[in-house]
Every structure is written in structure tokens, then in C-alpha cells.
């Protein structure tokens, strides 16, 4: 699915990713944990091609394609989805219009016809329901005035509509109340599929009780410093990250 090799990346001339390796097979769920400022969000931004994140070394291959040369929108159309840690507002552009443009662009890339407005509205309403958002959110501006938790559920709703192949969730669980956490977990679980992979960035072991990962990695200081099964998350909860610092073993 995705193969990340020796990835080095700078932000404003500061090296943040320092030789990161990660192999994710189809259908797998990988959780990434790690201290604040370790480079977890940076990884999501680099993979999705955000401006200002400069790759200085290494490669990223998604389904056999080198994506580092692609524009962000091309990567998205190739099936890479990033659920943002801090979703931004776009006032005046309705959520529905935005979602339609997004789905149309991805479908066009896949050689599929655009959905007509009626079909699309029906689909969008279904997805709203699945993440427990009222259909009125479709009429509002993108994330405009949404609460923190609503923004996160809105991200998930888009992910469900787009049915991407690689889903990167950057702290989608933070700021969610207990019920919403379950809604999000159920949404993700419903999307688990032998052809779809997930990178789930989180600080909380509890999310992993709901979304059970195949692998857990610790990202610290720009590298994967430890990898293991889901029990690693429990160990981290207990011991914190201190004992791992500067360790360089166990890269996946």
C-alpha cells in the first residue's frame, strides 16, 4: 500500500523528519504515538504534499507510484486522505458544495461520472447520519462555527464520502466527548476493508480499545523509534516515552 523509506523533511530549514521508515500493507491499521513536537503531524503534511514541507531525502511510494512529485490534489485523487488535527473554516462555501466539488474531482480522476445533485445530497445525508451530525451541517459554511468535536466528525464524514485507500487520522479523537469517540471509532471500523489502510495518530490508548490497530509505532525526534503490537500502547500508557528516547531500534 504505502512504503516510506528513509524520509527526511524540513520545515523552514529545520529538520523535523530524520530518516523515517514505515511499511503499511493493504487492510492494515497502524497507530502512531509519540511526544508533542515529535513530527507526527509533519508526517501527515509531508505525505499529503503541503507547501512549506521540503523533502530532502528518502522516498514515498503509494500503490507503486512515487507520490513525492505529485501535487496535493493529485495525491488526494490517488486515494490519500488526511483528517486534519485542526480543520480550518471556509466561510461562505457550503459544506455540501465543498463536498460535491471534492467527490466530483476524485470521481473524475477515477474516470467516473459526477453524481447528480439529488443522488449526492442523499449520500451526504446518509454519511452525516453515520457520524451523528445533523443534515443542517451540509448547508453551513465548511467548518464555519463548528465546535471542535463537530469539526472532527465532519472530517470523518468526508472520509466516508470519498472512500480513500489510505486514511491518515491526525488526532481525530482529541476533543471528542465519549459518545463522539465511539461514533468516530465505529465509523472507522465500518470502513476497515482489506484494500484500505489507516494511519491513526493519537495520544490516547483508549482510542485503540475501539479501533484495534495491527501495529503501534512510537515516533520520536523525527523517527520511528519503536514498533510493536497493540500491547505497546498499553506499555506506553504506563511508562511514558522517556525510556525510549534516543533509542533507535525497532523501526518497522
Amino acid at each position: 500500500m504505502i512504503s516510506i523509506k528513509n524520509l527526511h523533511a524540513n520545515v523552514e530549514d529545520k529538520q523535523i523528519l530524520k530518516g523515517l521508515n514505515l511499511e503499511i500493507g493493504p487492510g492494515e491499521v497502524h497507530a502512531i504515538m509519540g511526544p508533542n513536537g515529535a513530527g507526527k503531524s509533519t508526517l501527515g503534511n509531508v505525505l499529503s504534499g503541503r507547501d512549506g514541507y521540503e523533502v530532502t531525502e528518502g522516498s514515498v511510494v503509494l500503490n507503486g507510484k512515487d507520490i513525492l512529485e505529485m501535487e496535493p490534489e493529485e495525491r488526494a485523487r490517488e486515494g490519500l486522505f488526511l483528517a486534519f488535527q485542526y480543520p480550518v473554516e471556509i466561510p461562505g462555501v457550503s459544506n455540501l458544495e465543498f463536498l460535491k466539488a471534492s467527490v466530483d474531482a476524485v470521481r473524475a480522476h477515477q474516470g467516473k461520472d459526477a453524481l447528480d445533485s439529488v443522488q449526492f445530497l442523499k449520500l451526504a445525508r446518509e454519511k452525516c447520519k453515520a457520524v451523528n451530525l445533523d443534515a443542517s451541517f451540509l448547508k453551513r459554511g465548511v467548518n464555519e462555527g463548528f465546535s471542535g468535536g463537530e469539526k472532527k466528525r465532519n472530517e470523518l464524514m468526508q472520509m466516508m464520502l470519498l472512500e480513500p485507500e489510505l486514511c491518515i487520522l491526525d488526532e481525530t479523537d482529541s476533543g471528542l466527548d465519549i459518545d463522539a469517540l465511539q461514533v468516530v471509532a465505529e465509523g472507522v471500523n465500518a470502513m476497515r476493508d482489506p484494500k484500505r489502510s489507516f494511519i491513526v495518530v493519537t495520544h490516547y490508548q483508549r482510542l485503540l480499545d475501539y479501533i484495534v490497530p495491527d501495529y503501534v509505532h512510537v515516533l520520536a525526534n523525527g523517527r520511528i523509534v519503536k514498533s510493536g503490537g497493540k500491547e505497546l500502547a498499553l506499555e506506553l500508557e504506563e511508562k511514558g516515552y522517556g525510556w525510549l528516547e534516543n533509542s533507535d531500534n525497532g523501526a518497522a
Binding site: D51, G52, E73, P87, I90, G92, V93, E97, A101, L162
Partner: protein, 480 residues
């Protein structure tokens, strides 16, 4: 590349109406004096009173100085270097019907998306097509006449309805109102005249399409719309010009008279050539537009301004009658080196008069965009109300947005509300769009269209779509 640079690369200029029509024209030698004024008047076979009216304006103009209070800078036009009259030769012996009109002219309008043959025309829209200094054709005149509606070039109305023209010409914008209005009054060429009789609801949309073609000419159109008691009309104007390296002058005057209980809806889609990416060429658009609204009358100005190198324009309402209503909905987009200083004046004279101002300014490139608005509540304007909302959107970090609201309230019961916001199209917003598969151009146009929604919904339906596309084109570059 930072995404600001990316936006800038993409929002170059793709002006699609920039072609030149190759026809022979009768163009007066450059220069302006009383003889030129007389020449124009004679060319149109005008009656003596109108020649005198023009001369009076000309003499007033000579005494006036060009205003410089607007937030725009440009080399002052050399009024002696311009030609004040240019007409296609083929129009010299007044074609009686479309079949006699030079096919080259008809093709020009077709290319601009304005077919003048009635069977091909947009259903429900009558068009007056003005080319440089003359009207080429006016469609659906017979059909409109059946309803008693007069819709014809003002040059013809002078002959066919002299009493109406004489009564209302200059009644809203006097000859010496301002520098450009005085110039226009002296040398105005053509434009539309509309009269809607008492109680008549105009059965079609009326529209005038202005085209400047000839080089080194100015266009000085004059439009006069009179809606008699209880009548209703919706009018739209569109404008384009070829791409030329030198600046060209367009100084129009539009006067609207809404009698008791009448309603006039006046929409503009202004797409004059804005100049190139380096700021070379483009139209100077210096326009005076004003309406007077009598008792219970309503006047609504809607404008989408995307073109011109320099725009100076304040469609205004004199709310003279009690309970009269004035509205101003504006989208002004500037890109590259364009400059716009635009807004409105709402002058509340009558009791319980109401006005609404919604202004959306979008600045991109190195452009400057200013809103300038005056709301005046006169001593008799008991219970008058105004609501103003003035929003600016910045694209990139090299452009400017400015707001100059002036409020004068001389009645204690009058209420004036003013809200203003400034926002930007941020890198984060664009990245969110792109991460969802939407390319930068589409994202920018979606965000800008969202920003303008409140104004677009005021446009006649057919034109709202066109306006949206126009914004897209004005913002896009050559990247497909």
C-alpha cells in the same frame, strides 16, 4: 513554491473579450473644443436646445478640475489626445433593420455571446447594442412597444420623444455635478433610453451592451430610465473592450427616475479591459450613476465590477419620497494592477426611507480596492434606516483593501448600522481544498463565489451564472 506564489501564478489574466473588430470607422480627429461639441450634436441631428445644453456643460467643464480624492493613482488623461466620436462607417446611413447592419458588427456581438437576431436571442431579454459612439441595434422594440414600453437609443429618443428627454435629462445628475459628469454632458454619444408607463410591469429584461472598439477614443454613454408611477423594470448593462496598450476613457452618466410606487432594478456586469499583468493599458472607468426615488418607490443597484484599470463609481440613491427604498449590492474584484474606488451614496430625504448596502471587495495581485460610501440622514428623514455591510477579501499579500464609510445623521430617530470585515484566502484553506482533490483554481473560485453569494443572488438569474464565471476567469491564469 509557497502557495501564495502559486495563487499568483494562476490568477494571471485571461481576458476573453479582448479582440478587435476590423471595420472602417468614421473617427473624429483627437481634440476637444466647442466645435467638437457642435459636431457631435450635428452628427446626431439634435435640436437646438440640446446643442445649447451640451455647450453649457462644456463651458462648466472647462472651469472644473479633475477630482483627486479617490484612492487611485493614474496618469491624468490628456483630454486633447482623445477622439470624442467614432462610429462604424456602415452605420452612417442608419440601417432600417438587422439585415442592413454590417455582418461584421453582428458577428462581434455574437462572439461576445449577445446574438442580436431575435430568434437567437436570450428569451425574455431585449438588448440595445452600443458600439463606440452609436447604437447598432435594439431588439424586441415592437414587442415592448405593445406594452407601451419605450426602449431605444437615447439619440433616437431625442427625436421621437423629445418632451420626455427634455424633461428628465440632467434632472438627476445635473450638467455640472462633477468633472466627468460635465464632460459626459458635453460630449455624450449614445446610450439607452427607457420609459415604462404608469402601472406597467416591463414584460422583458432590458439590457444594454457597451463595446468600445476603436483605439484612442473615449466612450461617453448616457442612459436615462424613467419608471412612471407604479411601474416596474429590471435593466442590465454589460461592457467589454479590446486589449490595447494605451488607456482608454469611459465616462458614463446614468440617471434613474422612479416615480411613486415604481421599482427599478439596475444591474451591471462591468468587464472592461483591465490592462495586462504589468498594468499596461486598460479602461479608465469614471462613472456617475444616480437614482431618485419618489414616494414608496424602490431602486436597487447591483454591480459586478471585474474589469477596468481604474474604476471610480458610486451608484447612488436620493430617497426623496417617504417610504422609498434604496439598495446597493456590489462585488468589485481587482487583480494585477487594477484600482477600484467604488461604493454608493444613500441620501435619505423622506420619512421612513430605508437603504441597504452590501459591498464585497476582492483584491488579488498588486491591486488596490476601496469601498467609499456615504449615508446621509437629512433633517426630515424621520425613522430612516440604513444597514451597511462591507466585506473585503484579500488574495495574496501584495494587494490592498480600504474602507471609507461616511455617515452624516441629522435626525435623532434615524438608525445607521455599519459592519465591516476583512478576511483572506489562507494557505490553510487552500490546502484543505487541495487535500480533498480540488485544484487551486477551483478552490479560489469557490471561496470567492462563496464570499459574493449575497450579491449574486440579487442578479437576474441568467446573469448570476455569468457573473460567477466572470469572476473565475478574472482570477484564473493560463493554467488549464
Amino acid at each position: 513554491m509557497s502557495s501564495n506564489a502559486e495563487i499568483e501564478r494562476r490568477i494571471g489574466n485571461d481576458y476573453q473579450a479582448g479582440f478587435v473588430t476590423n471595420i472602417e470607422s468614421d473617427t473624429l480627429a483627437p481634440g476637444l473644443d466647442e466645435d467638437v461639441v457642435r459636431f457631435i450634436s450635428a452628427k446626431k441631428g439634435e435640436p437646438e436646445w440640446l446643442t445649447e445644453w451640451r455647450l453649457k456643460a462644456f463651458r462648466a467643464w472647462q472651469e472644473m478640475v479633475e477630482p483627486d480624492w479617490a484612492h487611485v493613482t493614474y496618469p491624468k488623461p490628456d483630454f486633447q489626445a482623445l477622439s470624442y466620436y467614432s462610429a462604424p462607417k456602415s452605420m452612417a446611413d442608419k440601417p432600417k433593420s438587422l439585415d442592413e447592419v454590417d455582418p461584421e458588427l453582428l458577428a462581434t456581438y455574437e462572439k461576445l455571446g449577445i446574438p442580436l437576431h431575435e430568434q437567437m436571442a436570450l428569451a425574455g431579454v431585449a438588448v440595445d447594442a452600443v458600439f463606440d459612439s452609436v447604437s447598432v441595434a435594439t431588439t424586441f422594440r415592437e414587442k415592448l412597444a405593445e406594452a407601451g414600453v419605450i426602449f431605444m437609443p437615447i439619440s433616437e429618443a431625442v427625436h421621437e420623444h423629445p418632451e420626455l428627454v427634455k424633461k428628465y435629462l440632467g434632472s438627476v445628475v445635473p450638467q455640472r455635478d462633477n468633472f466627468y459628469a460635465a464632460l459626459n454632458s458635453a460630449v455624450f454619444s449614445d446610450g439607452s433610453f427607457v420609459y415604462i408607463p404608469k402601472g406597467v410591469r416591463c414584460p422583458m429584461e432590458l439590457s444594454t451592451y457597451f463595446r468600445i472598439n476603436e483605439a484612442k477614443t473615449g466612450q461617453f454613454e448616457r442612459t436615462l430610465i424613467v419608471a412612471d408611477e407604479g411601474s416596474h423594470v429590471s435593466y442590465l448593462e454589460g461592457c467589454t473592450a479590446p486589449m490595447r496598450d494605451e488607456n482608454q476613457l469611459h465616462a458614463a452618466v446614468v440617471e434613474l427616475v422612479a416615480m411613486d410606487n415604481a421599482e427599478i432594478k439596475y444591474s451591471t456586469v462591468q468587464n472592461w479591459y483591465p490592462g495586462d499583468k504589468e498594468g499596461k493599458g486598460g479602461i479608465y472607468n469614471f462613472v456617475t450613476k444616480r437614482a431618485v426615488a419618489h414616494t414608496n418607490a424602490k431602486v436597487s443597484w447591483t454591480q459586478v465590477e471585474t474589469g477596468s484599470a481604474v474604476t471610480w463609481k458610486y451608484p447612488s440613491c436620493i430617497l426623496k419620497g417617504d417610504n422609498s427604498v434604496g439598495e446597493f449590492y456590489s462585488v468589485a474584484l481587482t487583480n494585477n494592477f487594477q484600482q477600484a474606488d467604488t461604493g454608493t451614496k444613500m441620501v435619505h430625504l423622506g420619512k421612513n426611507t430605508r437603504s441597504t448596502i452590501i459591498s464585497k471587495g476582492i483584491s488579488a495581485g498588486k491591486s488596490q480596492n476601496a469601498y467609499r460610501g456615504l449615508v446621509r440622514m437629512n433633517p426630515n428623514a424621520e425613522g430612516a434606516r440604513n444597514y451597511t455591510q462591507c466585506d473585503s477579501l484579500l488574495i495574496g499579500d501584495q494587494c490592498g483593501a480600504h474602507t471609507f464609510p461616511y455617515i452624516e445623521s441629522k435626525h435623532p430617530s434615524a438608525v445607521v448600522e455599519h459592519e465591516a470585515t476583512t478576511s483572506t484566502v489562507s494557505d490553510d484553506q487552500l490546502f484543505l481544498c487541495r487535500q480533498r482533490g480540488i485544484d487551486t483554481e477551483k478552490a479560489v473560485s469557490m471561496i470567492v463565489n462563496g464570499f459574493c453569494k449575497e450579491v449574486f443572488k440579487e442578479l437576474p438569474m441568467e446573469f448570476a451564472v455569468e457573473a460567477g464565471k466572470l469572476l473565475e476567469v478574472s482570477l484564473e491564469g493560463s493554467v488549464g
